[in-house]
């Protein structure tokens, strides 16, 4: 068995690879369940199918999809430009804190301007947190992977400080939580009895926006060139600093919107665990979705399902919720492994001379002798 480079990247494998990765993950999952003494097929059913087998489950899936998709939209632009923004988590948390603080401030206010103010403050806060990384990168050349991760930890600690201190609910029996947000600061739900808010519509709208941006505008082209080859981008005169600021601020704003969609939605207050690692899961969404708008939409449903599946597994199979992280990690690993098949082909036969198409087709003239 041998690995052989393909002449052209395989378009088929480009789209098949995530599906193959999903299949391998399912197989590994089944194996894992079996090793843990649970019936494999039943467990897979519990993890992947049971959570969405009824309408409420589907709506909960959409609730999970919303923050994932919003973060993924922002990260798609970053990763297309090869700006590795690993800080969506921190941008999310910081935006949640600021958005939450604003919501608490406006708990007595009334008027149509209240909700937009909350939303905008969340987006701006996310942008501000991302701006730190942008400044460090453009001004000081500090590697964005490390700085954004450090900022994640700082943000989480800021939130902890907040809910243990200034933002703590004075009537909350000293729990590290804020007061519940007032109704006028909450995002309106789309249907009664379900927790899906208008945030999903915002997400879908932004999805179309980046679709157009990447495919049809010069800005999108510049981002793609920068990601492919930043020397060529510089040579062509694309202003890399401006582009870096743009993608980071944009993804910060998206993470901020994601935060608002959570805390001014299903969560309703500030708590220490308000992020279930959406910022990191969104990274997987972007890769699984091949950095393509349609792909990340589908992938965010898949990743959203892993959260529901983890909760279901805890209830029905008595397995720890962290099984979610395990499945997510496996998905990404398998995806990276399967991506090999895009550029390379696996050959099983022992290749002897004459079987290679290039030689067979062209070696027809006898060697020239002098």
């Amino acid at each position: 068995m041998r690995i052989e480079k393909r002449l052209h990247d395989s378009k088929v494998m480009l789209y098949a690879s995530p599906l193959l990765a999903l299949l391998l993950t399912l197989l590994s999952g089944a194996l894992m369940f079996a090793l843990l003494g649970r019936a494999p097929l039943h467990s897979l059913y519990i993890f992947f199918i049971a959570p969405v087998s009824e309408l409420y489950g589907l709506s909960e899936l959409v609730v999970k999809v919303t923050p994932l998709l919003l973060c993924a939209i922002g990260l798609t632009l970053c990763f297309k430009a090869k700006i590795w923004n690993i800080g969506a988590e921190g941008q999310f948390v910081f935006a949640a804190m600021i958005g939450g603080a604003v919501s608490l401030q406006l708990s007595e206010s009334q008027g149509f301007w209240v909700l937009p103010t909350v939303i905008i403050s969340g987006a701006l806060a996310g942008m501000a947190w991302a701006a730190i990384a942008a400044l460090l990168l453009t001004r000081f050349g500090a590697n964005e992977i490390l700085t954004t991760i450090m900022l994640n930890y700082i943000a989480v600690n800021l939130l902890l400080w907040g809910v243990h201190g200034p933002l703590k609910d004075p009537n909350g029996m000293n729990f590290p939580e804020s007061a519940l947000f007032a109704a006028q600061t909450m995002l309106p739900v789309l249907f009664d009895d379900y927790r899906v808010t208008i945030a999903i519509l915002i997400a879908l709208f932004m999805l179309v926006v980046i679709w157009v941006l990447l495919g049809r505008t010069l800005l999108g082209f510049q981002l793609r060139v920068m990601g492919e080859n930043h020397n060529a981008a510089r040579f062509a005169g694309f202003k890399s600093n401006a582009l870096i600021w743009f993608v980071l601020l944009f993804s910060g704003a998206m993470a901020g919107l994601a935060a608002v969609s959570e805390i001014n939605g299903p969560v309703g207050q500030l708590i220490p665990t308000l992020s279930l690692g959406y910022g990191y899961a969104a990274i997987i969404v972007v890769f699984m979705g091949r950095m393509h708008p349609l792909g990340i939409l589908l992938a965010s449903f898949l990743l959203g399902l892993t959260y529901l599946g983890g909760e279901m597994s805890q209830m029905e199979l008595e397995l720890p919720k962290s099984i979610t992280g395990l499945f997510q990690g496996m998905l990404l690993f398998y995806l990276l492994a399967c991506d090999l098949l895009i550029g390379y082909r696996v050959v099983f036969s022992n290749r002897t001379l004459g079987k290679h198409p290039a030689i067979a087709a062209a070696v027809s003239t006898p060697p020239v002798s002098q």
Binding site: A142, I149, I154, P320, S322, G329, L332, F333, L336
Partner: protein
């Protein structure tokens, strides 16, 4: 200045710096060979959980330490296979390792959260540990800290004075040329990656068996990432890594010193210090780099396509 306070601070600094030292040394070896492994955090956690579970169930510290090291090395092999043999993007693969390692360790260790274990006892070296100021810090630590010192010295010698060190540097600088000269690039890189995994595993074991003898999901607290920044800070030079590890260790335990002087600051704010220091250090390193040329191994992070 109270000498006892200072002694305790130095002691804590060395202790806190040890896991950073171990991970950074391992990461440095990987990077010198040209491989950027961002999965340090995942490997630390896997090492920590393996070490804890084995030590807890077998009541044997030695087995636990061994298990942690092996766990870290095994999971790094996974990274190596995907990043080297399957030539995947190293950044993405490292992230995948972090996410997977975090998930795997949380899952496997779920039943052990909150269990207690008697940690590694310190091993005092007679006479030397009585030296004022530095005696306690250097000679009254547990065996893993001493092991870290030994490893540091060993790596320093290897990289500077041996042919192995030369080969590693060559592979990291230019793998195509190294291959043309007949060196097995992939083998060298695999070994460097596994060494890094073993070191991260050892650091994890140190955390779960000696530093805070217990298992929890957040036990690594970003040390893997800080260690990566440390390698940049040290300009990929072994001797500077020790300095950096102690510096970061110091930042982590600054609250001890502050408390000693009667300052009360919210623990959450203080907890941010190591991460802020890391950012500052990255900024400093990068701006300094402009004038002095780039010290990073030339092929760091680039995929290597073997041609044969």
């Amino acid at each position: 200045m109270d000498i006892h306070l200072l002694e305790n601070v130095l002691f804590a600094m060395v202790r806190t710096g040890t896991p950073l030292l171990l991970v950074a040394l391992g990461a440095m070896m990987s990077e010198r060979a040209g491989v950027l492994n961002l999965g340090q955090e995942g490997m630390i956690l896997v090492g920590a959980v393996c070490g804890f579970i084995v030590a807890y169930t077998s009541h044997n510290m030695g087995f636990g330490i061994l298990a942690g090291v092996i766990g870290g090395a095994l999971v790094s092999l996974l990274f190596g296979f995907i990043a080297l043999t399957l030539i995947a993007n190293q950044v993405a693969t490292g992230l995948a390792l972090t996410i997977f390692g975090t998930g795997l360790s949380a899952f496997v260790g779920a039943g052990y959260v909150g269990q207690s274990l008697i940690g590694l006892a310190p091993l005092e070296i007679p006479l030397l540990s009585k030296i004022p100021l530095i005696g306690k810090a250097l000679f009254a630590q547990d065996i893993l800290v001493y092991l870290a010192f030994v490893l540091f010295a060993g790596i320093f010698v290897v990289m500077r004075y041996t042919r192995w060190g030369l080969i590693i540097r060559a592979v990291g600088e230019n793998p195509e040329v190294a291959h043309a000269l007949g060196y097995k690039v992939l083998l060298v890189r695999y070994c460097a990656i596994m060494f890094g995994g073993a070191m991260a595993g050892l650091a994890g074991v140190y955390l779960s068996l000696a530093y805070t003898p217990m298992w929890s999901e957040g036990i690594a607290a970003g040390r893997g990432w800080i260690a990566l920044a440390l390698v940049v800070f040290a300009s990929w030079r072994t001797e500077r890594i020790l300095l950096g590890a102690w510096l970061f260790g110091f930042a982590s335990i600054l609250h001890l010193l502050l408390q000693g002087y009667g300052y009360e600051i919210s623990p959450n704010l203080l907890a941010m210090l190591p991460y802020i220091v890391t950012i500052l250090v990255l900024v400093m390193m990068m701006t300094r780099k402009q004038g002095q040329g780039n010290f990073a191994p030339r092929s760091l992070g680039q995929p290597y396509y073997p041609q044969r």
